[in-house]
């Protein structure tokens, strides 16, 4: 077989210089030899170098003449040695094509006298054309003139011949081993692993997809934010109460009852349960007074506060509703400073679009202590946001009913090349804190932002529905990298 011949030959010889000759000498079909060479090369038993040669092969006509003799010789032989033959008679004896070409070539060679009667001019001719064609067929080289004369008569055409020169490869062995795709327990038990040849791996492609579980990108970011708050000494507030009364969601925060946020356009009110069953009455009284006529140094909003409005149940519009409950609880005990945070769901009666959903997650942080200043708020915001990779901040005066001063937080986004609003912050108003019963020198600084927006910026997602909700792309969840927020 060709494979054994090649490997065997290389065991004793440096190289096979020409696969064509190698095949011819051993009577192999060259195509078979080429296939074997390619396969052995693939497994690196041998190194094969391409070689190319221009060769000539016979055309159909050339093959015919090589077998039957050239037309001029056939014509010559059809002419009697003595005397003559009529042209018509001669034509009948021969194939029409042979007759036509034979006439012109034999005439040109001055072998015969052409006329009405055809007679020989010479007695013996050599069939040189046939000889040359046979030589081409056997792969012998011809002179330039000979080639061009055959080419002119369209008896031969050029052909590129491809073959190889072959040397030993890095894995050379006189005998090929069967290529294995994997090492198995059986191989190890039998001990035949030493003999195994392996099919080459393709490292230009990735491996098969991993079979594993995946966490949601938004919650991965939440985990990092939680860690950040814990590192900053903040304690998590219990926020598992989506249903809230208007009182805790708005009134306790000194948000007047005619405030646009309290419109049904912005807030989901509940039909069932429609109202809260109880509120702390003495505190409600103080809240009512501060809205109506002020107190605690305030002039109040000067409107008639309605208990029915405060009783209305809703889906909380912010986690600050929880903060107000926590601060009220804090006020009922001897004062101790606190740092609280929460990251949980809030609801807004908004049209859903690329950047807005009817529900989203609010991140909130607050610090409650004596003597806190705006400088503390700015300091804590720098600490918090720098952990999110936003160290360039500036603050814009803003309005919020329950904070004064209020500051919008802007961060310089290198990618966008501009300042982007990243959150809201402020100090809770005395009209909110003092009715709760917190000491007068206790200040509360707080800030809030959505979880979705920084996540979208972080992962370059421009449609919130791709991130959160049932229209999410599962592929995105799977491909999503770990969240390294807070790990610098």
């Amino acid at each position: 077989m060709a494979e054994e011949a090649i490997l065997g030959y290389l065991e004793k010889n440096e190289q096979i210089s020409d696969s064509g000759n190698f095949a011819a000498e051993r009577g192999f079909d060259h195509n078979d030899v080429v296939n074997v060479i390619k396969s052995l090369h693939g497994f690196r038993y041998i190194d094969a170098q391409d070689i190319k040669r221009e060769t000539w092969v016979l055309t159909g006509e050339g093959k015919k003449y090589a077998a039957e003799g050239s037309p001029e010789v056939q014509l010559f032989l059809a002419v009697p040695a003595e005397g003559s033959i009529s042209k018509d008679e001669l034509q009948k004896k021969l194939d029409p094509a042979v007759f036509k070409i034979g006439c012109s070539q034999a005439g040109k060679n001055k072998w015969v006298e052409m006329g009405k009667q055809v007679s020989r001019k010479v007695q013996n001719v050599e069939d040189k054309v046939k000889d040359l064609l046979l030589q081409v067929q056997n792969g012998h080289a011809l002179s330039k003139e000979e080639i061009s004369s055959l080419k002119a008569r369209k008896l031969i055409v050029p052909q590129t011949w491809k073959g190889y020169s072959v040397r030993k490869g890095p894995n050379y062995a006189p005998k090929r081993k069967k290529a294995a795709t994997d090492l198995t327990r059986e191989n190890l038990q039998k001990g035949d692993w030493k003999e195994l040849e392996f099919k080459e791996y393709n490292f230009n492609a990735k491996g098969q997809p991993a079979e594993g579980g995946h966490l949601h990108p938004l919650l991965k970011v939440r985990k990092q934010l939680k860690d950040i708050f814990l590192q900053m000494g903040f304690e998590e507030m219990p926020t598992n109460n989506f249903v809230e009364s208007s009182f805790w969601n708005f009134d306790a925060l000194f948000q007047p009852q005619q405030h646009p946020a309290r419109d049904s356009h912005d807030t989901f009110f509940l039909e069932e349960p429609s109202t809260t069953r109880e509120l702390p009455e003495d505190y409600v009284e103080r809240v009512k007074r501060v809205h109506e006529s002020g107190g605690y140094g305030s002039r109040g909003y000067g409107y008639e506060w309605k208990r029915e409005e405060a009783n209305k149940n809703l889906l909380r519009t912010h986690t600050t509703a929880v903060s107000s409950r926590m601060l009220k609880a804090l006020a009922e005990k001897p004062f101790a400073p606190k740092k609280y945070f929460s990251i949980d769901r809030v609801f807004r009666n908004e049209a859903v679009d690329r950047t807005h959903l009817a529900e989203f997650h609010q991140i909130e942080g607050l610090v409650c202590d004596r003597g806190l200043t705006l400088g503390d708020l700015i300091g804590v915001l720098h600490d918090f946001f720098s952990r999110l990779g936003m160290s360039k901040l500036r603050f814009k005066p803003a309005y919020n009913p329950y904070t004064e001063p209020s500051m919008e937080i802007f961060s310089y986004h290198e990618g966008f090349g501009k300042w982007v609003e990243v959150g809201n912050s402020g100090m809770f108003r005395p009209e909110m804190l003092l009715p709760m019963g917190l000491p007068e020198d206790v200040h509360v600084i707080a800030w809030g932002l959505s979880l979705e927006r920084p996540t979208m910026i972080l992962y370059g997602i421009d449609n919130i529905r791709d991130l959160f909700g049932h229209k999410v792309d599962l592929g995105l969840i799977k491909r999503n990298p770990i969240c390294r927020l807070g790990i610098s």
Binding site: G379, H382, R387, H443, I482, G486
Partner: protein, 586 residues
Amino acid sequence: MPTVSVGRDRLFAALGKSYTKEEFEDLCFCFGIELDDVTTEKAIIRKEKHLDEEGDENDEEVIYKIEVPANRYDLLCLEGIAQALRVFNKQQEIPKYTLSDVSKDSMLQMHVKPETSSIRPYVVCAVLRDISFDEASYNSFIDLQDKLHQNICRRRTLVAIGTHDLDTLQGPFTYEALPPSHINFVPLKQTRDFTADELMEFYKSDLKLKKYLHIIENSPLYPVLYDQNRTVLSLPPIINGAHSAITLKTKNVFIECTATDLTKAKIVLNTMVTIFSEYCKRKYQVEPVEVVYADGRSYVYPDLSAYNMEVSLSYINHTIGVSLEAEEVTSLLNRMQLHAERSASGNNQWNINVLVPPTRSDVLHPCDVMEDVAIAYGYNNIPKRKPASVKPLALNEFSDLMRLEIAMNGFTEVLTWILCSSKEISTMLNRQTDESTAVVGNPRTSDFEVVRTTLMPGILKTIGHNKDHPKPIKIYEVGDVVLLDEKKDVGASCRRRLAALYCGANSGFELIHCLVDRIMEVIGTPFVPVGDDTGYYIQRSDEPEFLPGRQASITHKGKHVGTFGIVHPEVMSSFEQSLKNISYVD
């Protein structure tokens, strides 16, 4: 937040200065308003009509859309914004608003009938005398009413404003509540008269007005204002009469605000008259109107008196976190349109005596004064106080995230010893002893001769001791190895490594390969062609501990970070096990 559209050129003229867009944005940012959009009148119309063709922007007046805080009603028009910014820039003194000196006898009167209490009980009024409108200020005057209606007036439910050409009317006026059929007048923009109930029907198809009808629709009595000659001024909160409509030529404007909320009615009236008294012959002067109730109570409006607030200097300083002198605080407050003087409060302490002008209804509490000091001082100039907090260690946080990801791919974590025997990291791995190995000088047993240079012995030993555990086994470890390190004072340092192993009836090579891919995916590194330094790629490798041809090296951003492959059977047998596969990543 309400947005106010103002002509840029007119605004800059009012500010006495041209700004670049960026300069103006900065000014807005410091003051607490925001340049929301820059557009043109025609562009707005094109947008409304959904037309696409581009206009010649140069020919069109540039409009600035400015977002203002929801409690600053004094900033709802160009005049208010310009004045606030001029004062903020110290280009103008705070205006002093006064009532014109009219005697009680010659003062216009509004008589309130008791029936109004059932539907819309309050009315407040004022007069702007000798006013000169031009087209721009006239439009601004109309727009301001609209903005107030949409914001503080809560779409006219709380307050409705009517403005009239006083010269077409004759006082005293009456504010009444009558059955709709008894009210008959020609409303604004109409040419015939309607009764009030006809009018309500008529406006049901009016896009702009139909949303206000519900406010009075179900009441048996509708509120209405008349002059002495029974000319209807308005049917609040729906429409004014055509008779007293104001025009560009109007010289004397009568303003009435009917309301269900008196506080807000006063704020609305004050906002209107203070801003537009700027265009009166006697600048900042407003003519009062007496409102007389049937029970004899009488009030003079507008109430332009300043609200007096004492704020202690220490409260301001201690809440902001600065140490400003009293004079600095008063001059900062002046820039926010608050008159302020210092006054001694005893104990060498200063108080700041603030006179809150009628334009600043948002100032409720000393904290609002404190905020204005902070804004004028500049939020971004306040020194920050760094809170006590801790920073996590990035290496360990990152390791923890990776550990979680690998476990989520179905691998079980193991925790093995740092110390091992020297042959476990050399001959048993088909290797020479690593020259960078830290060697223990006094090991009690051969188990503790060296500090591991690779996680491989530990993880292989774990498999060796769990021969009876059902296959396949997938385990991993993230931990430190120690290598000699000349850069370290002690001459050796830890390196964080990751190893994962599969052991089963087949090699599991593909499983380890896909774990490598997954690890790269979760750290956000793309798969790239060999030689590309922007991601990771995998090539054949030739390490003695792995089977030849069954192993590969991992290159991450140009750096070799690990190898994975089928563990060489000779290595397996030295660790007394069957079959496994190992991967390492730095």
